[in-house]
């Protein structure tokens, strides 16, 4: 058994406007001189430390719990799950 860090990113679907991301983009990034940046979207990230047999299984466990416990609201958000580290 190994310990994995699994990152869960909860991001709003493209049809949902994102006033926080828009403000960061308009009033910080572009005004700060980085005009090549086309847009900013804000999101929420959770890091879960999971003990499991393999990277694949850690990812599967987290994917399952995200769906089952409604870690994200599927009407407005997408959720991506990725192992970022092995401890």
């Amino acid at each position: 058994m190994a310990k994995y860090i699994v990152q869960v990113v909860i991001e709003n679907k493209p049809y949902i406007n994102d006033p926080e991301g828009e403000t960061i983009h308009r009033d910080l990034v572009v005004k700060g001189g980085y005009s090549s940046v086309q847009s900013v979207r804000s999101a929420k990230m959770l890091k879960m430390a999971v003990t499991d047999k393999s990277e694949k299984e850690a990812e599967t466990t987290v994917k399952k719990l995200c769906e089952e416990l409604r870690i994200f609201n599927p009407v407005v958000s997408n959720c991506t799950v990725q192992v970022s580290d092995k401890l």
Partner: protein, 231 residues
């Protein structure tokens, strides 16, 4: 005699206001029921009040939506019992799947706490039956995550089934799709609303140029329960 249950979570803060209005202003028995209760008998309607259940951790309403009392409320709702969610209660009903869509951070990214006006779009629900058709009334809002959002399919269904119950009138406090302030389920027995009728049910509490018409939400519910008792 009708009896109404008020669900209480760690972080609820409008439970006592609802309790006061029902018991002392309307004169119907209403009791607090703690969130760990998984079997509820002897009640004719449930109210999920406002506040910050479980500190709004992760997303307003989501943790409470998994609590034992909400599983019981889901069962009661399925049996046709009236269930009303106010503010955080609306968020809890949405996250529990009893109502469709999502309540997201206000467009302004700020908590909004002020009086507004809403218009009744459906006066056939157990919570709005005593309002006149298209009646407009004053009521306060107090929320950070009150922007009602749904995809085009859900919106189409809401309109088709007449599930939009209240809309903000000449005001947009949070950026909700179609100015939605309250929706009900397809059957009409479960309603969620962002504004606070319990804070607007007595004349002494109302804003200038307003009145306590919001009490009609509770009066409609109680009249409906009495009617059921007779029938």
């Amino acid at each position: 005699m009708a009896k109404i249950g008020i669900a209480v979570f760690p972080g609820s803060n409008c439970d006592r206001d609802v309790h006061h209005v029902l018991n002392n202003v309307i004169g119907v028995q209403a009791d607090f029921i703690w969130h760990t209760k998984d079997r509820i008998t002897g009640y004719d309607a449930m109210i999920v009040p406002g506040g910050f259940a479980f500190g709004d951790r992760l997303r307003a309403g989501i943790i409470a939506a998994h609590s034992p009392i909400v599983q019981e409320i889901k069962r009661m709702a399925k049996a046709g019992m009236p269930v009303l969610g106010i503010c955080n209660g609306f968020q809890i009903l949405v996250e529990s799947g009893l109502l469709p869509g999502a309540l997201m951070m206000n467009d302004s990214l700020r908590f909004v706490c002020r009086w507004t006006k809403v218009q009744v779009r459906n006066n056939k629900t157990p919570f709005t039956s005593q309002f006149a058709s298209k009646q407009t009334f004053g009521i306060p809002v107090a929320h950070g995550e009150g922007r009602y959002v749904a995809d085009s399919k859900i919106l189409k269904d809401l309109k088709k089934n007449n599930q939009i119950v209240l809309q903000y009138s000449n005001d947009d406090p949070n950026g909700s799709t179609d100015l939605i302030a309250a929706i009900c389920n397809e059957e009409g027995n479960v309603m969620g609303m962002m504004p606070h009728p319990e804070r607007a049910s007595e004349s002494i509490l109302v804003a200038d140029n307003s009145n306590n018409d919001a009490i009609t939400i509770f009066r409609s519910l109680v009249a409906n329960l009495k009617q059921k008792a007779v029938a």
